[in-house]
């Protein structure tokens, strides 16, 4: 039982947790900045990014794919900004134009090129394949101390852990500038903070988290984790510090419960095969958000924009 858990479930759960936390952290700030859907846009343009990387390098090396995806994400962010400013178009519509166009380009390129031989397809990018990230060589918990077994860990685990660590570090280091410029941009500029650079840095960080996560868990989890845990956390507290901690907790909870439900849920209902873990993690995060919407202690609006009908 233990051996099986370590072999089959430990690594996917850990990867799910790291991916969820890495996305949830920047998600807190994106939501407060009314940029929640940047996560949506980024995760859609990952596909054209990896297709272009594949066409350029002719291989499926992870590093090239990651760079391609990150490049596409940054390009998308710049294009959205350009369309917004140049065309004087509201942010939502600008995002919609850019990410759908890039996604369409990605799909077309994919169809046109001969990628059938390699493991690169749209469904994989959308849904990920968390279940496949198993630790073959593990024999049980003691394998954690076995260098030979550790060397055979799936690549995604150390990569996702590293990205998660970097995101946590960036969030801690730039906490004050992020908080000040998110709350009061004018004041932030007046005290000399590089507001535009902070905003761009946040989006790039989100893009890096999304790119690292999509390979393992697919882009649905990425969008769900950018939005659901921070949104639920916002309804639990009125302190940003506490909100971020809640969001991390919700992200971990969704990752663990989602994986468990996907793997064992069908057995409880008499089914034989597991369902998509990525989809289930997104569904659980939605359930958490739903409960927070109904029962969260700070769910109602208090500041400006209060709904007079509710006052």
């Amino acid at each position: 039982m233990h051996a099986e858990f370590v072999q089959l479930s430990l690594t996917p759960i850990l990867i799910g947790i790291f991916a969820s936390v890495a996305c949830a952290l920047p998600g807190n700030f994106l939501i407060l900045r009314r940029q929640a859907l940047i996560g949506d846009a980024i995760s859609h343009v990952v596909l054209p990014g990896i297709v272009v990387a594949f066409l350029l390098t002719g291989g499926v090396a992870s590093m090239a794919m990651m760079l391609g995806a990150a490049g596409a994400a940054v390009l998308a962010v710049l294009l959205i900004e350009a369309v917004k400013r140049l065309g004087r178009i509201e942010p939502g519509a600008a995002m919609g134009v850019v990410f759908t166009s890039m996604f369409a380009g990605g799909v077309l390129l994919l169809e046109q090129s001969d990628t059938s031989s390699v493991h690169l397809d749209v469904q994989h990018a959308l849904m990920g394949n968390l279940e496949s990230l198993i630790w073959f060589k593990a024999k049980g918990w003691h394998s954690l101390a076995d260098p030979a077994a550790l060397a055979a860990l799936p690549d995604e685990l150390p990569r996702m852990a590293l990205v998660c660590l970097v995101v946590v570090a960036l969030t801690v280091i730039f906490w004050r500038p992020l908080k000040i410029s998110t709350f009061d941009e004018g004041f932030a500029r007046a005290i000399g903070l590089p507001v535009a650079a902070i905003g761009f840095g946040l989006v790039v960080t989100a893009a890096v988290a999304a790119v690292a996560a999509f390979d393992a868990v697919g882009s649905i989890i990425v969008i769900a984790m950018f939005i659901c845990p921070p949104a639920a956390a916002r309804l639990m507290t009125n302190r940003l510090e506490a909100q971020v901690l809640w969001s991390v907790g919700f992200a971990v909870l969704a990752a663990v419960l989602g994986y468990v439900f996907a793997g064992y849920g069908p057995l409880w209902f008499g089914g034989a095969e597991a369902v998509s873990a990525a989809g289930m993690i997104a569904a659980v995060s939605g359930l958490i958000l739903g409960l927070a919407c109904l029962f969260g202690p700070c769910r109602a609006r208090v500041g400006q924009g209060r709904d007079p009908a509710e006052a």
């Binding site: 709350f183 004018g186 004041f187 007046a190 009125n238 302190r239 940003l240 500041g303």
Partner: protein, 285 residues
């Protein structure tokens, strides 16, 4: 003053002696500009194809309360924001205590309009005030007890100590304005720039704010407010800057805040109403 000008002034029903030359910006004394807490030269800002502020020169005095006044849409807030680099300018130079503004940011405190932020933001009153300590704390250093005490003292000065742990969304408009002022105080600056600090606040808050601003003046700091209430200009401020896209006039309240200059700033009938109001206000004060 030529006879024809006197005719013009009489035509408009104004007191003779209005100095037209004031409007075309006589050259500033370079040394006065060098020492000024805020000196602006040739500032132009435009939204689209229409200048919001055109070629404005301004020099605000040290150790004084100054008001920027003008009608709605005259570019009062725009002038302040463009001077601070919050919105881009088409042309112009800004110096603070004789140095380029970016080298002097530590000496400036800024109070934005209350409506410019989302008060639903998850943060407490004390938290907002301690944002004023950012330049001192930097990225990572934790707040020491004396810095916390300083932030609390700033709250005390605006009478908000009891609200330190309140979520900012639960405050009234006047209280929000006091929190913003406390944050500016926490910056410990030499120049305070306030954008409509009295807009939409209750009478008690207005008194509290002006007391704080007067105490800053007593400490020798410079204060510049965008201000819209003409009836309080004379009792609150030492120096006025009149603007309506262009610089209209600037100088001590006693010599500059005149019916003629107001007429030039607000134009025609509108000004007549304001001036009438002013006379009534002055009569009862």
């Amino acid at each position: 003053m030529t006879p024809t000008m006197t005719t013009a002034a009489r035509l408009a029903g104004l007191p003779a002696g209005l100095d037209l030359a004031a409007a075309d910006g006589e050259a500033l004394h370079p040394e006065a500009a060098a020492e000024s807490p805020l000196s602006i030269r040739g500032l132009t800002v435009s939204y689209g194809e229409k200048p919001a502020v055109f070629s404005v020169d301004a020099t605000f005095p040290d150790g004084a309360l100054s008001a920027i006044i003008g009608p709605n849409g005259a570019g009062k807030s725009t002038l302040l924001k463009a001077a601070l680099g919050i919105i881009p300018r088409l042309s112009g130079e800004v110096s603070v205590f004789g140095r380029p503004i970016d080298a002097a940011r530590a000496r400036i405190a800024y109070v934005p309009q209350r409506a410019s932020v989302d008060w639903d933001f998850p943060t407490s009153v004390l938290d907002v005030v301690s944002m004023g300590l950012y330049r001192r704390l930097g990225l990572l250093r934790r707040m020491r007890s004396e810095e916390r005490a300083h932030a609390l003292a700033c709250l005390e000065r605006v009478g908000m100590t009891d609200f330190a742990d309140r979520q900012i969304g639960q405050l009234s408009g006047g209280q929000q304005q006091r929190v913003f002022l406390a944050r500016a105080l926490a910056q410990g600056a030499d120049l305070y720039l306030l954008d409509e600090p009295f807009a939409g606040v209750d009478a008690a808050t207005e008194r509290a704010i002006i007391e704080v601003l007067k105490s800053l003046r007593a400490e020798g700091r410079a204060v510049v407010c965008v201000h819209h209430d003409l009836s309080t200009v004379e009792s609150y401020f030492d120096h006025v800057f009149l603007i309506n896209v262009r610089r209209i006039a600037e100088g001590p309240v006693a010599s500059t805040f005149t019916a003629g200059n107001l007429q030039a700033t607000y134009g025609g009938r509108l000004a007549a109403g304001h001036i009438e109001q002013l006379r009534l206000g002055g009569g009862t004060a």
